[in-house]
């Protein structure tokens, strides 16, 4: 049964020739009209993910991977097309950011857990496990502004892996922390997979997608150009990076 269905989704951003973010800039620039370029990030992308699958997404920088994840998580709205996500999602999109620096770890986990759809009772129940996973029990009441980037990232991992919902959406997250902590994350990831959680994972790292995914999608030009076994598609991705023109041409021919 499909847990994610994406059908012909399009998303474009209007890029102005000059940024104007203030009333003052708009007033002073009233006699200097701007040009807008349309950047079509997603161009009719279609795919589905079944419950229990671990699907990886690869593609060159700017091909729309992160925008796609944000649309799936309900953060961005698509311009057109249909998106159906039939399960609660734990989105982990930017590990090091997204905290209130003036609050301690406990309050930040309460906030992030809340926006991820967890009740206060659920958050309190899992708080000890989150702090233990992050190895931050001693610093639970320290404001995040005093955390190092590594500590903040560990807390992000911990929320992702201990407060997880049915569907885990991960954007480049196996890249932070020391070897010991990474091994702990990988073990936890396997536990979650064994428990039947569905995963959608974006990564540029071939070893990660081949090891952790059951299927891989290759995105180019805002659409899925190929999908299949992780090893085959990862090789296609590498070919694309080595020789972008050849890669694109070969997709067009298919």
């Amino acid at each position: 049964m499909a847990i994610i269905e994406v059908e012909n989704v399009r998303k474009a951003f209007r890029i102005p020739s000059a940024r104007r973010d203030t009333v003052r800039e708009h007033v002073l620039g009233v006699l200097e009209p701007r040009r807008f370029e349309r950047l079509q990030v997603l161009d009719g992308i279609t795919f589905s993910v079944d419950a229990g699958e671990a699907v990886g997404i690869m593609g060159r920088n700017g091909c729309g991977k992160s925008t796609l994840l944000r649309i799936l998580c309900g953060i961005y709205a698509p311009d057109s097309g249909r998106v159906r996500v039939a399960a609660p999602v734990t989105p982990i999109l930017e590990l090091g950011v997204g905290w209130n620096p003036e609050l301690d770890a406990v309050d930040n986990v309460c906030l992030i857990g809340g926006v991820m759809g967890m009740s206060l009772a659920e958050i309190r129940q899992r708080m000890d496990a989150v702090l233990a996973f992050a190895e931050l029990e001693r610093f639970a009441n320290l404001k995040l502004k005093h955390y190092s980037s590594g500590m903040a990232a560990r807390l992000g991992y911990a929320v992702a892996f201990e407060a997880v919902r049915d569907l885990l959406v991960l954007d480049e997250i196996f890249a932070v922390g020391d070897a010991g902590f990474r091994a702990k994350c990988e073990t936890r990831y396997r536990e979650l997979r064994a428990a039947g959680h569905t995963v959608l994972l974006v990564s540029h790292a071939v070893p990660i997608v081949t090891e952790f995914c059951t299927r891989l999608l290759l995105i180019e030009g805002g659409r899925v150009v190929e999908e299949g076994s992780p090893s085959d598609i990862a090789q296609r991705y590498v070919d694309l990076l080595v020789s972008p023109e050849t890669g694109t041409a070969s997709f067009a021919e298919r």
Binding site: F13, D21, T22, V23, R24, H26, R70, L72, C73, G74, I75, Y76, A77, V83, R84, V85, A86, A87, P88, V89, P91, L93, E94, V97, G98, W99, N100, E102, L103, D107, C110, L111, I112, G114, V115, M116, G117, M118, S119, L120, A121, I123
Partner: protein, 256 residues
């Protein structure tokens, strides 16, 4: 995709209010009391200066404290509401989160302060030998309720517009300062020509301050038309605020 359910939303709302209190007042009652000192000091200062001008009016002191505290709420709540999505934007980019809950909960501490201000106003009235009747208190509560709705409507709209115009807070700061003198806070409305009153009533704090003074100090009840005007202003503000928020709120994360 499924968003947070009702239980999760209530939990999130409570966490937002609690953590906001913690950040603003260092999590202590002492911090909250410290924040109350600013309007009280302002009251003492304005009373000291303007009692030379309006000292003949025996109600001036009571009118001043009502006007000052209500305007303090208006200034604080609109400023906080306007910046609410920008300051709490990190939550919008983490997961699907209804933007309105970030806006409305940001007003909670200003509403709490208004409640404390209202208790202080009642203490002043009692100490002045003018204890308000229960009916007057209910009417006052209704006016402040309408005031909160007006501020909520403004905040819903301004918070999403602020993401596109990042100096809107400075523009609003100037407007709110000018509005302090436009509303009859430090002066009695009666000193201005009557034809001007109708225009001053367009500025939302004016009817709320005047109606509150009428029921608490003078013991008058504003006319039905006046009440309908206030209700209309609240409905209009919330309606327009909701429409603007629904139009731009879903794309708020794209501007963060």
């Amino acid at each position: 995709m499924p968003g947070p359910n009702r239980e999760a939303l209530l939990g999130l709302a409570w966490t937002l209010v609690r953590t906001d209190f913690k950040v603003r007042y260092h999590g202590t009652i002492g911090g909250f009391v410290w924040a109350l000192l600013k309007p009280l000091a302002m009251f003492a200062l304005l009373l000291g200066v303007f009692s030379f001008v309006f000292g003949a009016d025996p109600d001036y002191r009571l009118n001043l404290i009502i006007g000052l505290f209500l305007y303090e709420f208006f200034g604080d709540a609109t400023k906080t509401g306007l910046a609410s999505l920008a300051t709490r934007g990190f939550l919008l980019t983490r997961a699907k989160c209804p933007a309105w809950i970030l806006v409305l909960t940001s007003l909670a501490n200003a509403v709490l302060t208004l409640a404390v201000f209202s208790v202080i106003i009642v203490i002043f009235l009692v100490a002045s030998g003018r204890p308000p009747s229960l009916v007057a208190l209910v009417q006052y509560a209704a006016y402040t309720g309408a005031f909160i709705v007006i501020v909520a409507g403004f905040s819903l709209a301004a918070s999403v517009v602020f993401l596109r115009y990042r100096d809107l807070n400075q523009v609003w700061d100037v407007a709110a300062h000018a509005g302090f003198f436009l509303a009859p806070v430090v002066y009695p409305l009666g000193i201005l020509p009557e034809w001007l009153h109708a225009y001053l009533y367009i500025w939302p704090p004016t009817p709320v301050i005047e109606f509150a003074r009428a029921v608490l100090v003078r013991g008058d009840v504003p006319t039905l038309t006046a009440h309908l005007y206030l209700v209309g202003a609240a409905v209009l503000s919330l309606g327009v605020g909701t429409l603007v928020h629904r139009r731009y709120g879903p794309r708020a994360a794209e501007y963060l």
